[in-house]
């Protein structure tokens, strides 16, 4: 299990297009949005948290189309299965690996974006914290979709189609939590609800993605 996590991390790290693409998309999306708003700093400040969150969701989801693809296509997945690992541990390792490789770059990019959107440091901190709390939910649904689409060629769009309906509660609680953060601090009601949603998502997606991967073994 440990070795598997290291392997997944190494694969993701040596294959930087997966997470680098997300970050570049994130920054591009935000700058295009600023251009679309005509650089109006007042508007940008008020819409900033929402836009940064949406950009973060999309940039995270971009990675999942191909997350299991190589493993399934080149037979690694069967080998892992033969070595006695359960699909559940394969999924858990993937979730951890993509959490580490995709969240750290985003956490670095958010202050850059926040400065350009003229957000206060409290708002930036709130965005980063809400992303840390909510990311397990986004990633677990993304991994679930990735597991279903492992055999697919152009899975990127389908991942977004399959996961966005489940992003509704996450977006709602994250953004209202960001609003409540300056007054109520980190452990406000909305962030509690968000962490609850993350835990539920993990509990749903791990067995579901494992079951989806098992379909490739039939």
């Amino acid at each position: 299990m440990n070795a598997l996590l290291w392997r997944d991390l190494r694969v993701l790290f040596r294959n930087p297009q997966s997470w680098l693409m997300g970050i570049i998309f994130f920054l591009l999306f935000l700058s295009l949005f600023a251009i679309a708003l005509n650089g109006d700093s007042h508007k940008m400040r008020s819409m900033g948290p929402a836009i940064i969150w949406l950009a973060a969701i999309f940039s995270l989801l971009l990675n999942f189309g191909s997350i299991f693809q190589n493993d399934v296509n080149n037979g690694n997945f069967e080998q892992l299965h033969l070595s006695g690992l359960s699909t559940v541990s394969i999924v858990i390792s993937k979730i951890c690996a993509s959490f580490i490789t995709s969240i750290i770059p985003l956490l670095i990019a958010i202050p850059i974006a926040g400065i350009s959107y003229q957000l206060t440091s409290a708002e930036m901190a709130a965005i980063m914290l809400s992303l840390l709390i909510g990311a397990p939910a986004i990633i677990s649904y993304g991994v679930l979709a990735g597991a279903m689409l492992a055999g697919q060629k152009n899975a990127g769009f389908l991942v977004i189609l399959m996961t966005l309906p489940f992003m509704v509660p996450i977006v709602i609680f994250a953004l209202s939590g960001i609003q409540a953060y300056p007054a109520e601090g980190l452990w406000n009601l909305q962030f509690q609800a968000l962490s609850g949603i993350s835990l539920i998502a993990l509990a749903i997606a791990i067995p579901a993605a494992a079951a989806a991967l098992s379909a490739y073994l039939d």
């Binding site: 679930l144 279903m148 689409l149 055999g151 697919q152 389908l158 189609l161 399959m162 966005l164 309906p165 489940f166 509704v168 509660p169 709602i172 609680f173 209202s176 609800a193 949603i197 539920i200 749903i204 997606a205 579901a208 079951a211 989806a212 379909a215 490739y216 039939d218």
Partner: protein, 246 residues
């Protein structure tokens, strides 16, 4: 009952009389219900005749949710017992459910325009029905992207079950968000405390929709069975080499 119908042959025999039966029921309920709704039932004191949209809209909303429940049960059966008929059933339910959801959204929007003066409000109910519609669409896409039916059925069943767990969460969060963002302008126009003169046509229309659902899904499963049969027949012919050929 389910065990009995799980056999495709028996299902086809059942469908041969059940499909027309539900069709007749549908037209009976629809005719009587529409007559009740459009002629017999009174116009609303505030909304006038516009209230009659309710008889199309509310049963559609009920069916949108009932279809998802049916979809979930069929998916569970398909996931546990890997039964082909449950897959066909689930897909049929999803198609019909998505249509009912679209009907609910469209009629709701028209009704909203006449009674509240707006085509769309990001109100809790409307938003959650819209999300339900997207979940249906995503479910149907899963069937599209794989040519191989078996894994597609697996994935679709998993997705339907994940969706069922998520629907209450989405509903709750959207309601909460809605109460946070705007005062409740427009809920409960016609739901509780309905007069009997309006309740009867509503029930009749619901029964009509239910029969339509049963009719169309039986018909769809029947079609799927026949399509699968035809495919099987058309595979490679048996070898016909004889001694003379050699």
């Amino acid at each position: 009952m389910i065990n009995y119908l799980a056999n495709p042959q028996r299902f086809l025999r059942f469908a041969r009389f059940a499909a027309p039966l539900f069709m007749v029921l549908f037209f009976l309920f629809l005719g009587y219900g529409l007559w009740q709704a459009l002629v017999v039932s009174p116009a609303d004191t505030k909304q006038g005749n516009a209230v009659r949209i309710m008889y199309v809209h509310v049963p559609a909303a009920w069916m949108a949710m009932a279809s998802y429940l049916a979809l979930f049960i069929a998916s569970l059966v398909s996931f546990v017992w890997r039964h082909n008929l449950a897959d066909y059933g689930a897909r049929a339910f999803a198609r019909i459910g998505a249509t009912f959801t679209a009907l609910c959204l469209v009629t709701g929007s028209i009704w909203g325009h006449t009674s509240w003066g707006t085509w769309w409000q990001w109100d809790g109910r409307m938003t959650s029905v819209l999300v339900l519609f997207f979940i249906y669409l995503a479910y149907l896409f899963i069937w599209q992207f794989t040519d191989d039916r078996k894994p597609a059925a697996r994935f679709a069943a998993i997705f339907a079950m994940v969706g069922l767990i998520n629907i209450p969460i989405i509903k709750f969060s959207v309601d909460w968000w809605n109460s946070l963002h705007q005062t409740a302008t427009i809920s409960n126009v016609g739901a509780p405390g309905l007069d009997k003169s309006m309740g009867t046509p509503l029930l009749l229309m619901f029964l009509a929709y239910l029969s339509l659902f049963a009719w169309l899904s039986i018909q769809q499963v029947r079609t799927d069975i026949h399509t699968a049969k035809n495919k099987r027949v058309r595979t490679d012919k048996a070898a016909t080499i004889t001694v003379e050929d050699l």
